[in-house]
Structure formats: structure tokens, C-alpha cells
């Protein structure tokens, strides 16, 4: 029998944490008994279809709905002005209102192909589509801004904006000392990655069934990542009390970030349902999902890294750009790319310029490991460096990785690092893979014209985040032993396929001392239990698991207290095993837990004094703000030099997700992420043509990895328990983050006899692989990217757009509305409404300034609290002051503001996070 864990409260012989138990969900799902949103029908349900923009950018001259309304079975037609009768404020993932105007239906102008214009309500979906097809729209078409390069030079797509920059972070110039380091280094290696746009492509597309049940009562069946979070979002967006909204999502077929936040279509249906007296259902079809759902990635990065003679890291600088589309679910310069680029490595200095760009394409949403570019660019650069410097890539990593013996340490961006194990994972990986034997095999194969490659990558990942970002709170477990002795738990976790009903039941059975079969976990309905943001950022195993464990331990204590009282024994002598309550040394006293439950609920006179009747406990777990997961992977490929095809021969994952609740679930998460990684590297691509039309509109053109493209993965679990309750680390996203560089490195290693992948453009189609093998532009990628002289100039000059061009204002330029010049006699004193463009989205705050001569003092007030400052300066319309903040990490914010009439513009230097824009008006 297993050793007793001093931490374990159930003290049972049977341990459920760490077991490969069958999933509780599977019998239901595999026999077609799942309940997805489209499976739900309510009496009187009508169906919704959208008429969508056929052009990428233009003003709407007129919309003629008369022919559509004539179709029998059509009940109503709603345009933006009709929907607007139910006000709704669209907000980002971080619950911040959008900086650019977004309405559920296009209002006056369209910004991307697929922008919904009109909503049709009909008896059936087919009739609704027939009607939608008859809506005639007249446009005044405008030149679309499609690519990042066009966004940099084209006119702003959104009204009242001065450029297409959605967010800008970092430094537009490399700091002097770092520049000298880069220039003087023994080796300066550059890697450029052009990451294609992809579709999240969950099996279950977006869907919503909305019904208004009374003046202030709304019920939503909606496929999502957390019913609680959706209720919170809609209650804020609609200004309804949270108790008025019930959100149900029993089964969800994948999300990957897409369904974090309801977007235009879901909002339009909800508004329509508030205005229309019947339940309304919209189920997105695959054509809509591929062409009009929010999408992901489309980023470019150029990273320069300096190494010394022995391959040690000296410094790095990157320039990152992201095509946000027209209406992203949070304007984004992806600060996390920079935050997590180097904490796993000994990198003394790093700076960056990071920008998001608005374009006339679909808005971006999150996708499994949204910051994954950091691992992709870093790990592929390290392999390139290893080849160029002439060091083994594993040795290069060992010289630079932060091992446990190097910790605690702090990254150059200020991230505290105290329990990461990327180096240990790498060492463990190498124990399972004979590298010298592979190198011999590789050399022999090359003699025969076969090109094998080995790719290795290491990484860390922030998981289980709670407490430092708007929606990310702790999670709640409410655990009960029912009068029958069966155990039920209501959890704020939510499964989109994660199997939380299984893993949470394992945690509970383990710590309570009951059989796994006797535990049932309920989730998927916000009215059933307390708030929790559910799935997002690899958090449920960590936080939900911790909550389930602690609640079960508390409940076990309650059972023991009761048993000790009833049997006149000491609490310490009571144990619970497989649902039986035992007293040490008195086997005749053993009772099924149900007998005690009966007493606890039904015989109050037998309970100990102060003992609350019943057997139920709840615990909300507030974990540390971040828990790190580490991993190292190896992949072996063979590249066919004739066709450029890649065959994956072997893939080993050595991951440290701390305590493994269920190895099969962990491996399923890793495998799923790796399958998506393989898709991103080799197959998936959502290109737009020059007019802004998405050109992969079906699965014939959008190639997802199929079972034949995904190898059987091998797993090495390197378990270093974390500091959380239960010791788990998140594992949901990792495969999609470390997978791409692992595979790219394997391909690059196979191609190394031919040359380098100089510019990594994804996906690595067979044609792009032939580009390297033949050292010519077989794929046409180079011609496409650097085709005309103008484009070449733009590409080469991404870091610093010409400040004199007037298109993209440099960060530190003061932009004055209407050409107003700062007035000498105007004063900044008084109250202001300010907006700071932070990495999490724009943050609104109130400011108060007091001026005394040249001295400036005052305070800034945000919902989180008020902070006073003094010691600032005021002269010639310019205000300078500093604010020291503690959360989410210690930084000094240096404000530099310019007054122009009743407006303030300027910047805020945020330590290593670079510079953010500030604007304000008098309140």
C-alpha cells in the first residue's frame, strides 16, 4: 500500500491523485449524450442569421431589407439602430471598454469582410439565410488596410485616431548601454519570425441561445470558457444586475481562447433577445467560423541577441508587431511576449519595441499560449546561434538556462523566478534520448541522401494566474457529503474538454477518503455555485484543484470531529478510507460515511456542541499570483529533399507540471497543444488577399492537422510540486507554446546541410522548405514579402518608421489635437479624466493636480485605489512626476505630460515595460 502522505487528510490507502482513472465525462460524450449549446431547444425558439459585409472597408450608403422581409417565415430584421435600443458596452477580456467604437452590428461603416450588418430572425436557420442573402447593401468602398506594413503607412481605419497603432509598448530606441553590448559582442545573431494568422477552429463553433424571462431576467445557453465570467461580462456590458443573468454551458467542444469573451455576434443576439419576445438561437456555421470569427496570431518579430565567445547571453533587443484586426478582443501589443522571453535564461539586458496595429481584417482573440512567440523566436534563434557559433545546441542551453541551483533570481524584466525547472526538464529529456546515437544515424542517413533532424526546445510558462488582472480571481469548491453518503461538489471550474469533472473528483476522493466513483462534480451553470473565471491561462488544475483539495480536507476534518464525538475517540484516531470511517484500534466501530451523514443531517441532538448540522464545506482558493510550468521537448523529423515534405518520426515531451492529478488528462492536454503546434508550423494558414478577403473559407483550404499528421508522443513527467495547495502547475497551453520551436528546430537541423531558414515564415509549407534546400525562391515567399522596392524599404525599416513621414507618430512626440500649442499661462491644476494605455488595455483613471510655482503634486485614482504623489515639476506646459507602484510588480512610473488647452497628452515610462501613451481631458 502507498506510503502515508503527512499532508493527506483522507489518510486512505487508495490515492486518487496521480491515477489514470477513466474520465467521468466520457460515457456520456462518447454515446452522443453531450449537451452542447446547439442541442438545446426551448419552446418557441426562432433562429438568427447575419447579413455580413462583403467588403473590407467602406461606408454604408443604404441597406434595403424589403425583399428579405417579404420571405414567409421571417419574423424580424434588425440593423445597428434597432439593436441600439438595448444599450451594450463591448469590453475586452480584461473588462475594459474598447478604445475604438465597437457595436454588435456595423453602424454606418464596415471594417472587415464578414462584419455583421443585419440580423434576421426567422422560423428556421435556412429561412433566415434566405432572407439574409436578399439584403441589398450599397457601400462607398474605401481602400482597405490589410497588412501590418499597410497599417504603418496607411491612413487610420478608426475614426478619431491619429494612427493605426492600437497599443505601443517599449522603447523605440535601444538603450545606449545595450546598443554598445550588441555592437561589441563576439556574436550577434538575428532571428526573424513571420507568424501567419490562424483560426482557433474549435470543433464546436460559437453558439448562443438567449431568452428573456421577464423584465430583468435573461437566460443564456452559450458555448464559453466560464458561465460565471460570461454572466459577469454581460451584466457589466448591459448594466443588468448579475443576479438577473443565468448562463448555462454544460458541454463545450473546445475554445482555446476564442470564447473567453462574447463578441459581436453573441452580443447582437443577446441584444435582440432583450428586445424580442421569443428565444433566439444562433449557431455559427463553419464558413462563418473560418471567415468571421475572431482569429489569432499574425505577428512579426525580429530579435537580436548578443553572445560572448563561449555562447553566453549578453543582451537582446526585439521589435514586435501584431496585426490586431479591426476589433480585437483587447487591443494588444502582447507585452507577455517580452515578459516571458528570458526568465528561464540568464539574460542580463533586454529591451523591445512592441506594437499592435489595427487593420481591416477580423479582430484577434486569444489562442492557447497567446505569447508563444517568445519561445518560438528565442528557441529557434538559440539553435541558429549554436550552428553559427559552433556549439552543440543542448550545451548552449545548459550554459544559459536558470537551474534550480541558480534560484531565486529575478529576470531582467523584473519577473521573480524561484521554482522553475527548464534545465532539469532538459536533463531528464536527454536521459531518455540518446543524442550521440542520433547524430551517428543522422550522418549515415545524409550519406544516403536522407535528411534527419533533431529539434530541442526548453521553456517556462506562467500558469494559474489570479489576483493581478481584472477577471482572474480565485476559484471556488463547494463540497458536500449528501445524506446518502455520496459526495457532490459544485465547482467554478469549467471544461471545454479538459475533463475537470474527472480531475476535480480525483482531488476530492483523494483528500476526503472516498471512492472516485462516489464523487460527482457539477459545473457549467453560474447560478449553481460561486464565482470563478474558469478556463483561461492554464489555471483550473492549479486553482480549482487547490480549492477542491482544501475544501475536501476541511470536510474530512468535519467528519472526523463528528466521528470522534459519536465514538468517544480522539480526532487523531479517526481515519476515512474508501468511504468508511475507522477508529484506530477499534475495527468494530467502522461505519460507512453515509451513516455519519445521516446523523449530521437528521439527528441534530447527537451532534457535538457548536457543530453545524450537515456535512458541507466551501473554500475559495486564492493562489500565488503566478505558478510557473517548465518543459523541454525533443522532436526528430525527416525532410524529403525532393518534395520538401516533413515527416515527424519521434516526439518526446519532458514537462514539469508539478503534481499530476491524472496523467492521461495531462498527456491529453500536452498532445492537443502539440497537434495545434504541428498545424501552425506545417499546415494552418488564414491569409487575406489584397482586398481583405479571407481566402481559407473552408476546411479544404484551411488545413488542420489530421490524425495522420500527428505522431504518438512520448511523455516524461518531471514532477516538482509547486507552492500551491496540491502542488499543481498549469499544463493547458504548454504544448502549443513549446511545440512550434521544437518542430522548427528539428526541420532547421535537417536542412542545415543546405543552409539556414533565414527568415522563418509560417507555415513551413513544402515549397518554403524547398526554398532552403535549393537556395532560391521556389515558394515565391521572398518575392511576395519583399517584392517591390517600396516594400523592401518598409521591411528593412520596421524598427523605426520615419518620424517625418507624419504617418506614425514616434512615441515621444507630443500630439496636440487641432494643432494647439501649449499656452504659457494655462495651468494643469484641477481634475482630469485620464487614460493610460497599459499592456492589459487602456486603463481609465482620475487625476488631480495641484501647482505651486514650479512644484507639482496631486493624486491618480483608479478603481484599485488612489495614489498620491509630490515632488513633481511644472513648467512651460510640461508636467513631470513619478509614482511608485507595487502591483503587479514593483516599478516606478515616470509621467511626462504636455498640456494643450483642456487636453493632456504625453507618455508614461513604465520601467522595463517601456513607454505607454497617456491622454486626458478636464473632468
Amino acid at each position: 500500500m502507498s506510503e502515508a502522505d503527512p499532508q493527506a487528510h483522507g489518510i486512505g490507502a487508495a490515492r486518487w491523485i496521480g491515477k489514470r482513472v477513466p474520465r467521468k465525462e466520457d460515457a456520456r460524450l462518447l454515446t452522443g449524450r453531450g449537451q452542447y449549446t446547439d442541442d438545446v431547444t426551448l419552446p418557441g425558439t426562432l433562429h438568427v442569421a447575419f447579413a455580413r459585409s462583403q467588403i473590407a472597408r467602406g461606408n454604408i450608403v443604404s441597406i434595403d431589407t424589403s425583399a428579405a422581409l417579404d420571405i414567409p417565415g421571417v419574423h424580424a430584421m434588425m440593423l445597428a439602430k434597432d439593436i441600439a435600443r438595448q444599450p451594450l458596452t463591448m469590453m475586452s477580456f480584461f473588462f475594459t471598454p474598447s478604445e475604438v467604437p465597437i457595436t454588435p452590428l456595423a453602424d454606418g461603416y464596415v471594417q472587415y469582410v464578414g462584419d455583421p450588418l443585419a440580423l434576421v430572425i426567422a422560423e428556421t436557420r435556412a429561412i433566415a439565410e434566405d432572407a439574409a442573402a436578399l439584403i441589398a447593401v450599397e457601400y462607398e468602398e474605401l481602400e482597405p488596410v490589410v497588412t501590418i506594413a499597410q497599417a504603418m503607412t496607411g491612413e487610420p481605419i478608426h475614426p478619431d485616431t491619429d494612427s493605426n497603432v492600437s497599443v505601443e509598448m517599449g522603447d523605440d530606441e535601444v538603450p545606449e548601454q545595450l546598443a554598445a553590448t550588441l555592437e561589441g559582442a563576439a556574436h550577434l545573431i538575428t532571428q526573424t519570425v513571420i507568424h501567419q494568422r490562424i483560426s482557433q477552429a474549435p470543433m464546436e463553433n460559437r453558439a448562443v441561445l438567449a431568452t428573456r424571462e421577464g423584465p430583468e431576467e435573461l437566460t443564456l445557453y452559450i458555448t464559453c470558457q466560464s458561465p460565471h465570467n460570461i454572466a459577469r461580462w454581460f451584466s457589466t456590458a448591459l448594466g443588468l444586475p448579475e443576479g438577473a443573468i443565468r448562463v448555462i454551458a454544460k458541454d463545450v467542444g473546445g475554445s482555446f481562447g476564442l470564447k473567453n469573451t462574447p463578441w459581436k455576434e453573441e452580443c447582437a443576439v443577446v441584444c435582440a433577445a432583450m428586445l424580442f419576445p421569443r428565444p433566439l438561437k444562433w449557431t455559427e456555421d463553419r464558413y462563418e467560423a473560418l471567415t468571421a470569427s475572431p482569429q489569432a496570431r499574425e505577428q512579426e518579430i525580429k530579435l537580436d541577441v548578443a553572445f560572448d565567445d563561449e555562447g553566453r547571453l549578453l543582451g537582446a533587443h526585439s521589435i514586435y508587431d501584431c496585426n490586431n484586426g479591426a476589433y480585437p478582443q483587447g487591443a494588444d501589443a502582447n507585452i507577455a511576449v517580452h515578459m516571458f522571453m528570458w526568465p528561464a535564461y540568464k539574460m542580463p539586458a533586454y529591451s523591445f519595441l512592441s506594437r499592435g496595429w489595427y487593420t481591416n481584417t477580423n479582430g484577434l482573440a486569444a489562442y492557447r499560449g497567446p505569447w508563444a512567440m517568445e519561445s518560438l523566436v528565442r528557441e529557434t534563434l538559440l539553435d541558429k546561434a549554436a550552428r553559427k557559433i559552433g556549439i552543440d545546441p543542448i550545451e548552449l542551453r545548459r550554459r544559459n538556462l536558470v537551474y534550480l541551483s541558480d534560484q531565486p533570481s529575478t529576470s531582467s524584466m523584473g519577473i521573480p523566478v524561484d521554482d522553475i525547472t527548464p534545465g532539469e526538464c532538459l536533463d531528464k529529456l536527454i536521459q531518455h534520448f540518446d543524442v550521440p546515437a542520433f547524430r551517428r544515424e543522422q550522418a549515415e542517413a545524409r550519406q544516403q541522401g536522407r535528411y534527419l533532424g533533431l529539434g530541442i526546445a526548453a521553456y517556462i510558462e506562467p500558469t494559474g494566474s489570479a489576483g493581478s488582472m481584472a477577471p482572474m480571481t480565485g476559484e471556488l469548491a463547494q463540497v458536500r457529503i449528501e445524506p446518502t453518503g455520496k459526495v457532490t461538489a459544485t465547482m467554478s471550474t469549467h471544461s471545454q474538454g479538459h475533463g475537470t469533472a474527472t480531475t476535480m473528483a480525483q482531488c476530492i476522493a483523494d483528500r476526503l477518503g472516498v471512492r472516485y466513483e462516489d464523487v460527482t462534480v457539477y459545473e457549467g451553470d453560474n447560478t449553481r455555485g460561486g464565482f470563478g473565471p474558469g478556463a483561461a491561462g492554464s489555471r483550473q488544475g492549479v486553482i480549482g484543484g487547490g480549492a477542491a483539495i482544501r475544501a475536501s480536507e476541511m470536510l474530512a476534518d468535519k467528519v472526523k470531529t463528528l466521528a470522534a464525538h459519536l465514538y468517544n475517540a480522539s480526532v487523531e484516531s479517526v481515519s476515512i478510507e474508501e468511504g468508511m470511517v475507522h477508529v484506530a484500534g477499534a475495527p468494530e466501530m467502522s461505519r460507512p460515511i453515509g451513516e455519519l451523514a445521516n446523523i449530521a443531517y437528521g439527528e441534530p441532538h447527537r451532534l457535538p456542541p457548536e457543530f453545524e448540522a450537515g456535512l458541507e464545506v466551501q473554500f475559495r482558493y486564492q493562489p500565488p499570483p503566478m505558478t510557473m510550468t517548465s518543459a523541454a521537448h525533443a522532436c526528430v523529423v525527416e525532410v524529403d529533399a525532393e518534395t520538401g515534405f516533413v515527416k515527424i518520426l519521434r516526439w518526446i515531451a519532458s514537462e514539469d507540471c508539478g503534481t499530476v492529478i491524472n496523467p492521461a488528462v495531462v498527456e491529453g492536454q500536452v498532445a492537443g497543444g502539440l497537434a495545434q503546434a504541428i498545424g501552425m508550423v506545417l499546415l494552418e494558414d488564414m491569409p487575406y488577399d489584397a482586398r481583405g478577403n479571407p481566402t481559407a473559407a473552408t476546411f479544404k483550404d484551411y488545413l488542420l492537422p489530421a490524425i495522420t499528421d500527428v505522431p504518438v508522443f512520448e511523455y516524461v513527467h518531471a514532477n516538482t510540486p509547486s507552492k500551491t495547495i496540491g502542488g499543481m502547475r498549469g499544463v493547458g497551453e504548454g504544448g502549443a507554446i513549446i511545440g512550434p520551436p521544437t518542430l522548427v528546430n528539428a526541420i532547421a537541423d535537417a536542412l542545415s546541410p543546405f543552409g539556414e531558414i533565414e527568415e522563418l515564415v509560417l507555415p513551413l509549407t513544402p515549397a518554403r522548405i524547398l526554398d532552403v534546400i535549393e537556395q532560391r525562391d521556389v515558394s515565391g515567399t521572398r518575392a511576395h514579402r519583399h517584392g517591390t522596392a517600396v516594400e523592401v524599404a518598409q521591411m528593412a525599416d520596421v524598427p523605426a518608421p520615419d518620424p517625418t513621414s507624419g504617418q506614425v507618430p514616434p512615441v515621444d512626440a507630443v500630439v496636440l489635437p487641432g494643432g494647439v500649442h501649449p499656452a504659457q499661462d494655462a495651468t494643469i491644476a484641477g481634475d482630469w479624466n485620464m487614460v493610460l494605455k497599459t499592456p492589459m488595455g487602456p486603463q481609465a483613471m482620475k487625476a488631480h493636480f495641484d501647482v505651486e510655482g514650479g512644484a507639482l503634486s496631486g493624486y491618480l485614482e483608479a478603481p484599485e485605489g488612489r495614489q498620491d504623489f509630490s515632488g513633481g515639476t511644472w513648467s512651460d506646459g510640461n508636467a513631470k512626476f513619478n509614482l511608485a507602484v507595487e502591483k503587479p510588480m514593483k516599478i516606478t512610473l515616470k509621467y511626462d505630460l504636455q498640456l494643450a488647452g483642456d487636453a493632456i497628452t504625453g507618455k508614461c515610462k513604465m520601467g522595463m515595460f517601456g513607454t505607454a501613451k497617456v491622454s486626458g481631458e478636464r473632468s
Binding site: R125, E288, E642, T643, D685, D701, L703, T708, T765, V778
Partner: protein, 289 residues
């Protein structure tokens, strides 16, 4: 993704089907297996006002031997053809190509005639018909005609079929039992349309190529017969064959295109290599000279 409204008829005889097609005046579309048509209908890319379902027409499925060849009924399921013993014996190139059409699930429903009549330029069945010298049997209320596969295709999804015409059979001429099968397809995933594909047959007698029929798929707006190559090959001794030089000839008739899966230059480059490798393997395997 719901089709625009349409009427549906399921005629039991060819005559009835042809009458409906004639009366529809171009507004009808024939449905057999529906594996391509159903998505096109759902996407509203195809909006016929009447759908003519030929699955129930008597004698429209099955494989029969005829004088000097093999005839395949147009509604023959691809999955059935794959198991057919006549085809296995007489048309191994056809069977080899068919195994690359779609997936198990789509082949259970998809038909040989549907694939032939649709004319997807990157599909296996049209190119196989072109390579092996098949003849397409066509009928309308105006009468019947027989069109060689090499004259049947005029563009992507475009054939010589008139709106009132129906494919009623495909006839493949016999190839000597000892003929060599040449087939290779380069596709991103199994079942995908080809980036580059070639199919054909060659007869070698006493070390000399006696007859050859080859075609490309995915290499132009239609399946492309390797006409120049066939002429260059026939009559040549195996000892005199230079596969790389012949590959250049084989590629001469193609007109590949750029799309986001592959460039024309990729298709040409890999097409040449595919041809040379396939020729080498096919002829040296069977004739280890």
C-alpha cells in the same frame, strides 16, 4: 450554411432524368454522391433550382466487361469500385488512383461518375480517365455521344457537357495484363487534393516501350495529358531512357498555378522529380534489366 431553396426529383429511368434536365433549361444540377456538391450547395456557391438525383436510376452503378475494355456505371460508389475484382485485374492504375480519392467516409458515398463529371483539375479520377484513354458516354433528349476523356475537360470544373446532358458511363480500354502502373501524388495530408500528381500506364515489350498513357493532375486548369512525353517514350528502348530529360518533356504541357498551398514553381520543380522517380521505379521494378 443552408442551401438556397431547390426542388428535388429522383427519376427511376435515364429517359426521365434526361427529360427533367432538358425542361430545366440549365437550372438543374445532377447529384450522385454529393461529396462535392453538398458543400457547394451549403455554401450557396451552387444554387440550382432543381436537383436531379440519379442514384436510383436502374443500371447506373456497377462495373462490366465489354469488348476490349471495362465500363463503369456513373453512380458506382468509389468504395465499391475499390473492392471490384474486374477493376483490380484490368485497371490497376485506376484502383491505385482511386485509393487516393478523399477518405473512407467520402468514398462510401462519392461516385466515379460524379468525380469524372465535376472536373476538379487536382483530382485523381479525371486525370486517370485522360491518362488511360477512357471514353465518356453522354446522353441527352437530343441523343447520345461518346467523347474521349482527352477532349472532355475544358477548364476548372468545366467540361464539354451541355446543361441538358448526363454522363451515362465511362469506358476504359484494356491495357495488356503486363503493363506498368505509374502513379504518384504529392498532397499535404492524405485525402487532400494534389499539389502535384501523375497517373498512367506503360507497356514494355522486349525492352522497348510499346504504349504509354500518362496525365498530370494539379498541374493546370484541367487534367493534363502528357502528349509530348508519350510520343517521346513510345518506341524507345529502356536502355535509352533518360528519366530526367523525359521529365522535362513531361512537364512541357503543364500550366501549373499559384495558390496558398504551393507556388507554380514548386509544382513544376516537384513535378519533374516526381516524374523521374516514378518512371525509374515503375520500369526498373518490373524489368530489372
Amino acid at each position: 450554411m443552408k442551401p438556397a431553396p431547390f426542388d428535388y426529383v429522383a427519376p427511376r429511368t435515364i429517359e426521365e432524368a434526361l427529360r427533367v434536365l432538358a425542361e430545366a433549361g440549365g437550372g438543374a444540377t445532377v447529384i450522385a454522391g454529393g461529396q462535392t456538391l453538398m458543400p457547394l450547395l451549403n455554401l450557396r456557391m451552387s444554387q440550382p433550382f432543381i436537383l436531379v438525383d440519379i442514384n436510383g436510376i436502374e443500371g447506373f452503378s456497377g462495373v462490366t466487361r465489354i469488348d476490349g475494355g471495362t465500363r463503369i456505371g456513373p453512380a458506382t460508389r468509389q468504395a465499391d469500385a475499390l473492392q471490384d475484382t474486374i477493376l483490380a485485374r484490368h485497371l490497376p492504375a485506376f484502383v491505385k488512383a482511386l485509393s487516393h480519392v478523399g477518405h473512407h467516409q467520402t468514398r462510401n458515398r462519392g461516385t466515379v461518375g460524379g468525380s469524372i463529371a465535376l472536373g476538379e483539375p487536382a483530382a485523381e479520377m479525371p486525370a486517370t480517365a485522360v491518362a488511360l484513354g477512357a471514353t465518356i458516354e453522354i446522353a441527352s433528349v437530343r441523343g447520345t455521344r461518346r467523347v474521349p476523356a482527352r477532349e472532355f475537360y475544358v477548364g476548372p470544373y468545366m467540361t464539354v457537357l451541355e446543361p441538358d446532358e448526363l454522363v451515362t458511363g465511362i469506358v476504359y480500354p484494356d491495357w495488356p495484363e503486363s503493363h506498368h502502373v505509374l502513379f504518384r501524388e504529392v498532397a499535404q495530408r492524405p485525402g487532400d487534393f494534389a499539389l502535384v500528381g501523375m497517373v498512367g500506364a506503360a507497356v514494355v515489350e522486349s525492352g522497348t516501350v510499346g504504349r504509354a498513357g500518362l496525365a498530370w493532375f494539379g498541374m493546370g486548369p484541367t487534367p493534363v495529358a502528357m502528349v509530348q512525353l508519350e510520343a517521346a517514350l513510345v518506341g524507345k528502348s529502356l536502355d535509352d531512357l533518360d528519366p530526367d530529360a523525359l521529365a522535362a518533356t513531361a512537364i512541357a504541357d503543364t500550366a501549373p498555378f499559384d495558390d496558398h498551398h504551393a507556388s507554380a514553381e514548386y509544382r513544376r520543380t516537384v513535378g519533374r522529380r516526381t516524374f523521374a522517380r516514378t518512371l525509374r521505379e515503375a520500369l526498373s521494378l518490373r524489368e530489372p534489366a
